[in-house]
Amino acid sequence: MQEFLQQLVGGLAIGGIFASLALALVLIYNAMGLVNFAQGEMAMLATFVAYALVSQGMSYWIAFPVTLVLAFAGGIGVQRLVIKPVERAPILTLVIITLGLATLVNGLAGFIWGYVPRSFPSPFSSESVDLVGVFVSYRDLGVIAVSGIVLLAVYLLLQRTTVGLTLRAAAHHPEASRLLGVHVSWMLALGWGLASAVGAVSGIMVAPILLLEPNMMQSIIIYAFAAAVLGGIESPPGAVVGGLIVGVTINLAGAYLPFVGGDLQLAVGLAIIIGVLILKPNGLFGRAAVRRV
């Protein structure tokens, strides 16, 4: 029983990491109706920027917001320079571009900082808390707590502010929004900026746990996709719940399904993506798209 609870808690801990990146994926989907395969790599790059600032002697609590601002500006910059020129291209073109961007950013970070893992400071203690024999680290709890805060902030922004309303309108009904005087293209850029900043939060939170190196996010991006798809790709709360479910599922499957073991955890993540797309394409929290024909 003790072991089962520990596996459960371990699953929630890693699930929190998936959730934090899945949130950024969901935001970008809301902003432009596609998944950004470079999301993890952009988050990694932002974390390296924070690392560079901290190693220059800047305090963590200043470097953190400065990085978020830089990531926000960087996201907008990427949208303006790379995405806007092909805005009207088929969706496949955009997908390929984000894949190319992922490779480019990964190589760039490797070129500048190398591939040796680095330790990254964390505001949370490196110790773990004892919950009657089950242990969970403060850093993992921190990731989940911060994901919750980001989720709340995103929710308030999208649902309770004019900017949020405009963002959603521009993404879902670009033509109508344009007629109403919305700068659709700039709204998409704003979405990229927000997603990039949320990704940066994720990177900064998980780097102390996963160790900072250019391939840091590659091991979790697939699970983050699974989390986003499971939760409903448009739903921020879905991303968080999806992340936790995926984390617990792969941990328990790895521990108790002999044919999965430690070897096929990634396959479980992929199976979740395929299973959800076949059985419930809109995920747990997504709304079915209704189209008049």
């Binding site: 371990g10 190398g114 680095r118 242990f135 850093r139 160790l211 073991g261």
Partner: protein, 409 residues
């Protein structure tokens, strides 16, 4: 054109005179990549990409060859060492190796790095009869299968040999241990697991649980939780450095305090430092070593260490305290030793023969007492290692050398 004829005639005449018709003077045999005053060696290594940390090994080897060249070279020949970056990607190792063999006409490939990378060119080099000497990987196959790949040889202790040394240490010092093993689910992890199981022999039931992980995994928490629940009191981690660091942290977070055995791939001080910073307790951590640790104060006045410091000062990018650099200097020392022994019979065949069958050296950069040795029936140059324990800031040598020579069949 006409004007050149006399000079060609002159050259031909000179050659006839110089060679004296081939009688009287002792003949010296040479091969591709050998000239009157040079020996050309090639190398592929990761100097970019995921394993770029290893790249400094090539630079340290170059520093040693330059040092030897500065002293007049090997039997009057200077070593010309060409390093190419394969980024740890076998798809790049193949064309780069072909370039070195066919375009640059190297005499031999030396210290190519990476199990997959060197496996990808083993058939090619053997079919071309180009020596593939002292590959920088501990995969047991490079020594064990020398008879079927006669131009290939490893240098460092093989992973199976290393694991056998752990087994010997456990049987001697922790006879009642309940062992849990975390291993990477590929040739690398399985090589270690086999060595441990074989080394324990009839006591293999001491292994109460073994859990594998895939390199695509985000962490190893699920496996370590299972191992902890199996009531193992001794944990073996046969992983690559990144996973080892994360695993050490996870063990501490689980409030688990087993005796931990780390493989040598993951024991450089830089990784131990990272694990410490990330929250690992690092109590009761054991590993093995066979090279003198440049950060260990006990070697401060050691002549081999002082020689190393002199040599490595010739490489501006090499950090003297980096264990990879003294590895590079040590393996280059063996290479030069082989070339010196080849003397006037500087053929690929003879050099490979000496390396695989006739080595018998004391290497000043390895721990005292280690013999680098091969015979016609034993192609594992280094089979002795010493147990080391982590003291909080560095590794401390324990006991004496453990010799596993002849155990891997």
């Amino acid at each position: 054109m006409g004007r050149k004829v006399p000079s060609l005639v002159a050259v031909a005449t000179f050659l006839l005179v110089a060679c004296g018709g081939g009688t009287g003077t002792p003949t010296t045999q040479t091969d591709v990549g050998i000239t009157a005053d040079s020996i050309s060696l090639g190398n592929t290594i990761a100097q970019s990409g995921a394993a770029a940390a290893y790249g400094t090994i090539g630079n340290a080897e170059l520093a040693y060859f330059n040092y030897i060249n500065g002293q007049g070279g090997v039997n009057g020949r200077k070593i010309n060492f060409k390093i190419l970056d394969d980024a740890y990607n076998p798809a790049q190792t193949v064309p780069l190796t072909k370039q070195l063999v066919e375009q640059d006409q190297v005499f031999a490939m030396f210290s190519g790095l990476g199990t997959q990378a060197q496996t990808s060119v083993r058939d090619y080099l053997n079919s071309k009869k180009v020596p593939q000497l002292f590959v920088a990987t501990g995969a047991t196959t490079f020594n064990k299968d020398h008879d079927t790949n006669q131009w290939t040889l490893g240098w460092q202790p093989p992973y199976q040999g290393e694991a056998r040394i752990y087994a010997a240490d456990v049987l001697k010092n922790h006879a009642g241990a309940k062992i849990g093993v975390l291993y990477q689910n590929d040739d690398y992890g399985l090589d270690y697991l086999k060595g441990l199981t074989d080394g324990l022999g009839s006591n293999a039931s001491m292994i109460v649980d073994k859990e594998s992980y895939d390199v695509t995994a985000a962490n190893t928490a699920a496996q370590l939780t299972k191992l902890q629940a199996s009531h193992a009191d001794t944990l073996f981690i046969f992983a690559t450095p990144g996973f080892t660091i994360k695993s050490l942290v996870t063990v501490t977070l689980l409030h688990w305090a087993p005796t931990i055995y780390l493989n040598s791939v993951s024991n450089p001080q830089v990784y131990m430092g990272l694990a410490k910073k990330a929250g690992a307790a690092l109590t009761n951590v054991t590993s093995v070593g066979y090279i003198k640790d440049p950060t260990d104060p006990q070697w401060a006045n050691d002549s081999g260490m002082q020689q190393y410091k002199t040599i490595i000062a010739g490489c501006s990018t090499c950090k003297p305290e980096d264990g990879f650099n003294i590895y590079g200097v040590a393996v280059a020392y063996t290479m030069v030793d082989v070339l010196k022994q080849a003397g006037t019979n500087m053929t690929r065949k003879n050099v490979t023969d000496i390396a695989a069958n006739k080595l018998n050296e004391t290497n000043p950069f390895l721990l005292p007492g280690i013999k680098v040795k091969t015979t016609s029936s034993d192609h594992f140059p280094i089979m002795q290692e010493q147990v080391i324990t982590w003291n909080g800031t560095g590794w401390t040598l324990q006991g004496s050398l453990i010799d596993e020579r002849g155990t891997i069949k």
